[in-house]
């Protein structure tokens, strides 16, 4: 039981840390991705209508 407890504690810390870290990265770099997506969609629409 002790081993399982240690295993889940380590897994929980790793899961929480990776969740927080990836959230931070996505918050910063996702905004740039979003702008690019909107720009590309606008270009696609212009090409479709042109």
């Amino acid at each position: 039981m002790q081993l399982w407890q240690l295993f889940w504690t380590v897994s929980l810390v790793a899961a929480g840390a990776s969740f927080a870290f990836i959230t931070l990265v996505v918050m910063i770099r996702g905004a740039r991705d979003l702008r690019e997506m909107i720009r590309d969609l606008g270009r696609q629409r212009e090409e479709d209508s042109g």
């Binding site: 407890q5 899961a15 927080a20 969609l41």
Partner: protein, 501 residues
């Protein structure tokens, strides 16, 4: 009422901004590919945000919280499996790499490319049935969360959930995937902040030492070791591995993100990084459930677990986590957390509305129309059919969500309803991509037997979830193999040929 004025300002502000931005997405929708797969323009980071937001909802927090409350740390095994399998799928590109190369818009579309139009329609019907039944319990469970945390009178539950559904429906119908992706980004940020805040509050108030001690005294080794836990065991763990491979590759809402990425390579990276988020997506709310057991688990034993008690009233285990949040979160923080949960709710529901209605329109209505000799619809008309399907799904959700209560743990109900189509679809996709002899006869056998294997044992024979899950996948695999060996249907094309077509 548990809400202060500041909480209401945060909530209303979030809803207004979310709706306005969602409606803005409409201006970027020019054709059906924009509406369903955002013109395949998703980059890595926005891809991670939309995939994570799609698969993290209030429903996710609720069922994981329930698992944590009932089964302690042993429930972490389900979260660990879901994350690791997703990372493996991302790293190897298993199924998703080839799916993205084929430039699909829905999972059943693959069945016409590889098998036949008839099988696409059958698959579309089963995908829509399983998906909508699966989503059918979302509103009720989400409504319970909101009423418990906010303290809104339960009599207003239907009105509150109707308003939320209408908000989601408005921007999904207008802007399709473009609106969903834009709002998903905001919603992902908000729900992640709420997740981290709640985790800190839960551990702070319950105390790590007390959490471990409570699980030890109430559950013993079964609270830590999933192999000896009577609800789990090796069969459950194996079934979870199989199920999560199917979910991460063939679940319509997940697959739509794969289809929407810029390239197959991007889809693999999105899947890999979201796999790490999936570890926290499961374990953190399970931890909240265990914290709720620690703080509120003082009632009579039910199945060996003390029932949650709040102000002398006994609650269901699934309601323990929101009841705990209502107690431990202060003004302002409660508003941020509920806004985060609303964000989670809206991101999941809008994506699921779009996903299942896409299947109804693209894989049922349009192919049936073509089978009757009618010509293909213009892109504008296809979008119109999609919007009608959105309305239909919403109406069904209101009805089913209010009148049906799933038996047992919600997580397991969701697993079984998903298995209705996942068993057959996963087997057919794997067979179609990796086994040259798979053919249409085998495909029909797999879809029908997979669905029967999920529905009959669980809903009519009262079998357990693990056995039902294995029965469904086993029957589907047997059906594909036997049907393909005895049948004489059209041979399966290679993916490269299909893509060229």
């Amino acid at each position: 009422m548990n809400f202060a004025a500041v909480d209401w300002i945060i909530i209303v502000g979030y809803l207004a901004v979310s709706l306005a931005i969602g409606i803005l997405g409409k201006r970027y929708v020019g054709n059906v590919a924009h509406f369903l797969v955002a013109g395949r323009e998703l980059g890595l980071y926005i891809g991670i945000a939309t995939l994570a937001a799609t698969e993290i909802g209030t429903i996710t927090y609720m069922y994981n919280g329930e698992l944590g409350y009932k089964y302690g740390f042993a429930s972490f095994a389900a979260a660990l499996i879901s994350g690791i399998v997703m990372i493996v799928v991302g790293r190897t590109g298993f199924i998703i790499g080839r799916f993205r190369e084929l430039k699909l818009m829905t999972v059943p579309e693959y069945f016409e490319v590889k098998y036949s139009r008839g099988l696409r329609i059958v698959t579309g019907l089963l995908v829509a049935l399983g998906g909508i039944l699966n989503m059918g319990v979302f509103l009720k469970v989400e409504g319970e969360f909101l009423t418990i945390v906010s303290g809104i009178d339960g009599r207003y539950l239907v009105a509150v959930m109707t308003v939320i559904l209408l908000l989601e429906l408005t921007y999904t119908v207008l802007g399709g995937m473009v609106s969903v992706v834009i709002t998903d980004f905001i919603q992902y940020v908000l729900l992640s902040i709420a997740t981290i805040l709640v985790s800190i509050y839960a551990v702070y108030h319950a105390g790590w030492g007390q959490i471990v001690a409570k699980v030890t005294t109430t559950m013993g080794e079964a609270g830590f070791n999933p192999v000896v836990n009577p609800k789990f065991g090796l069969t459950f763990l194996l079934w979870q591995v199989l199920l999560w491979f199917a979910v991460h590759t063939c679940w319509q809402t997940t697959a739509m993100r794969v289809f929407s990425t810029k390239s197959p390579e991007t889809s693999k990276r999105v899947m890999t990084w979201t796999g790490f988020i999936f570890l926290g997506r499961g374990m953190l709310p399970m931890l909240w459930g265990i914290a709720a057991l620690t703080l509120l688990g003082s009632g009579a034993l039910n199945g060996g677990i003390p029932q949650p008690v709040v102000n002398g009233q006994t609650l269901a285990p699934i309601d323990a986590m929101p009841a705990m949040l209502a107690q431990i979160l202060g003004p302002g923080v409660r508003g941020i957390v509920v806004a985060g949960m609303l964000a989670a709710t809206m991101s999941v529901n809008s994506s699921y509305l779009l996903g299942w209605s896409a299947v109804i329109s693209q894989d049922v209505i349009l192919p049936i129309r073509q089978a009757f000799g009618r010509g293909p619809l213009s892109s504008g008309k296809q979008i119109f059919v999609n919007r009608l399907a959105n309305l239909f799904v919403s109406l069904f959700l209101m009805f089913w969500g209010l009148y049906y209560t799933p038996p047992g743990a919600v997580y397991l109900y969701l697993n079984i309803t998903g298995t209705i189509f996942l068993a057959g679809a996963f087997v057919c996709v794997v067979g179609g991509l990796y086994w040259r002899r798979a053919n249409t006869t085998g495909g029909y056998f797999a879809m029908v037997l997979g669905a029967a294997g999920a529905v009959i044992p669980y809903f009519f024979l009262g079998w357990g979830e693990n056995v039902t899950g294995f029965a469904a996948f086993g029957l589907a695999a047997g059906g594909l193999i036997i049907g393909s060996l005895v049948g004489r249907s059209r041979a399966v094309q290679s993916p490269e040929t299909a893509a060229a077509d």
